[in-house]
């Protein structure tokens, strides 16, 4: 088995036993990237020189007998909206074509403090707005399982680099499903944590009340491992919570012997692909055979959840993206004669169409012409959605749904119909609106060998329960760490 096929925890064990060096691991990873990325297109930037320098340093310290963290020497890829000092952070946008952050995101400090090796920045939809990574200004990323299909989005690069075996770990971000949907499409694991358990300091804001950085990997254990490193309170992000998720093994050991699983009927109705439905139901049956109790529940708000999500997220995005004006950083238009012309030309030339659509919608829902009617309604329904989840969790421990109603679609298929693209988020947005944790795992393949994803949701701060149940599903369903055949 090649080193690039190993999980992060397998590599960590080999490194600690000195069966392999970090430099050897990184060299294998960079060879894999060179062999595959012309086809897949995960990476916007590969930092081979600095990564190998760091790997050598870790090897030297280990050779001298220094006790190092389990993360030491492990390669990881970072979504290109998370700031890494000294490396471009473009958000896949012309607006930030040349922007180099002068600081690290908190999650990056945590990885670097534990001697993780950042190998590069991966592709995404522009400013995290999209569900296919086709909105990237720079390039198309393809699904490693079928190069004619999308990897999902907006964390498409974060998912494709795992499925191709280019790295064992990656970071994504999730505002309405942007970790979970690409995880489902690419057959990997992705966790959107409870809102507030991972610092947002250093991520370029899209929708501040919904955004969360989250771990992605090919196995549940690796996902739990990465989550244990990046989670925790941060003084630089006032929305973070005091948590104690820093022991990844404990995150997999919750007693799930009397698990009550809620199945909301609204997620299994018309519109869900029959193979997706079958695969998810098979996984649920396996849990039932192993002692779980299945309880039907209802989430009637699914009908207008997308409306709530797009109202809130676009309202916040229109405010967050007003900072991009061509003045302090980012793209600045040429041949301008006034400050107003500077703003208009820089923004019009710097942003893509999807970003412009969402800014306009945000202004619309917040505008005084509508008396902020839309935004107030959306906040009301956000609280109602939270209440529905709270009531559900009085009856059940976790909720299971498909992650997406279908498998990955063809490149270009939904580009001309934004509303059709927005429907990709229908199963995932409620978790962001309510702030609850949600994870996507592979649960099978369809007849065309495209991955299918199952989604688990839990109450706030129930990551231990979610990850333990996910670990059990991984053992029952099997075939995780399944690299695409490239």
């Amino acid at each position: 088995m090649n080193l690039y096929e190993k999980t992060a925890l397998e590599l960590s064990s080999m490194l600690q036993k000195k069966e392999v060096s970090s430099k050897e691991v990184c060299n294998d990873i960079f060879k894999r990237i060179k062999d595959t990325d012309d086809n897949v297109g995960s990476f916007l930037y590969v930092d081979e020189e600095n990564a190998l320098k760091k790997a050598s340093e870790v090897d030297d310290r280990r050779a001298k007998g220094e006790k190092l963290h389990m993360m030491a020497g492990i390669p990881i890829a970072i979504k290109d909206n998370i700031s890494v000092k000294g490396i471009k952070n473009t958000c896949a946008s012309k607006m930030l074509l040349d922007y180099v952050p002068p600081f690290n995101a908190t999650v990056i400090n945590k990885i670097e403090d534990n001697d993780g090796i950042i190998v590069g920045k991966v592709n995404m939809d522009e400013f995290a707005m999209g569900s296919s990574t086709e909105n990237s200004y720079f390039k198309i990323t393809k699904n490693p399982h079928n190069l004619k299909k999308v990897p999902g989005g907006s964390s498409g690069g974060s998912a494709s680099c795992l499925a191709s075996g280019q790295v064992p770990l990656s970071l994504g971000s999730d505002t309405g499903g942007s970790i979970r949907q690409p995880a489902s499409y690419c057959g990997v694991v992705g966790l959107k944590p409870t809102y507030g358990t991972v610092s947002r300091y250093g991520i370029v804001a899209f929708s501040s009340s919904l955004d969360q950085i989250g771990p992605m990997a090919r196995t549940v254990s690796d996902t739990a491992f990465l989550y244990s490193i990046i989670s925790g309170r941060d003084k630089k992000d006032a929305t973070t919570l005091d948590t104690n998720f820093n022991n990844y093994e404990e995150l997999l050991k919750e007693d799930i012997s009397n698990l009550k699983i809620g199945i909301p009927k609204e997620y299994f109705g018309e519109g869900i692909n029959s193979e997706v439905k079958q695969s998810v139901e098979n996984a649920i049956k396996l849990l039932e055979k192993n002692g779980a109790k299945i309880i039907p529940i209802s989430q009637p708000m699914l009908e207008y959840a997308l409306s709530v999500y797009y109202t809130i997220s676009c309202a916040e995005a229109s405010s967050n993206l007003s900072r991009f004006d061509g003045v302090k950083y980012g793209y600045r238009a040429n041949d301008v004669n006034s400050i107003e012309e500077l703003f208009i030309k820089s923004r019009s030339e710097g942003f893509g169409d999807e970003v412009k659509r969402r800014i306009l919608l945000g202004n619309y829902v917040l505008g005084s012409r509508n008396n902020s009617e839309y935004y107030k309604k959306a906040i009301h329904y956000k609280n109602e959605i939270k209440n529905i989840f709270n009531n559900n969790f009085k009856e059940v421990d976790i909720i299971i749904t498909p992650t997406v109603p279908n498998v990955a679609f063809n490149l270009g298929e939904k580009l001309n119909d934004p509303l059709e693209m927005y429907l990709q988020d229908v199963c995932t947005v409620t978790a962001n609106i309510a702030g609850v944790p949600a994870i996507s795992l592979p649960c099978g393949m369809n007849k065309d060998n495209m991955p299918i994803g199952i989604q688990l949701l839990g109450p706030c701060l129930s990551e231990k329960l979610l990850l333990s149940t996910s670990y059990r599903i991984e053992q029952l369903v099997g075939n995780f760490n399944n690299l695409a055949k490239l």
Partner: protein, 88 residues
């Protein structure tokens, strides 16, 4: 309600150029979706209750250097960012 794209584009400092008609068409479909949120009476609104956040102390502490902050600006002079004239 017809989407007044010129008004909202002006608010957003955006010139939509040749894409205006397509974006308008898209937004009218998207606002149809937004309108699916059922109506509610003002007195039935559930808005956010208490939301406690920890704020840092109001003390000046070391932060980024001016050079670091200005490193991404297109044109800098005397420690300031140069932009087109704003005052006649």
């Amino acid at each position: 309600m017809k989407f007044d794209i010129d008004y909202f584009a002006k608010l957003a400092y955006l010139d939509l150029g040749d894409h205006k008609d397509k974006i308008l068409d898209d937004l009218e479909h998207i606002t149809d979706m937004i309108n699916k949120m059922p109506s509610i009476k003002e007195d039935e609104l559930i808005l956010d209750k208490d939301y406690s956040m920890e704020f840092r102390e109001d003390k000046v502490i070391p932060s980024l250097s001016r050079n670091d902050i200005l490193s991404n600006a297109k044109k800098v002079q005397a420690g300031c960012i140069v932009v087109p004239k704003t005052v006649e």
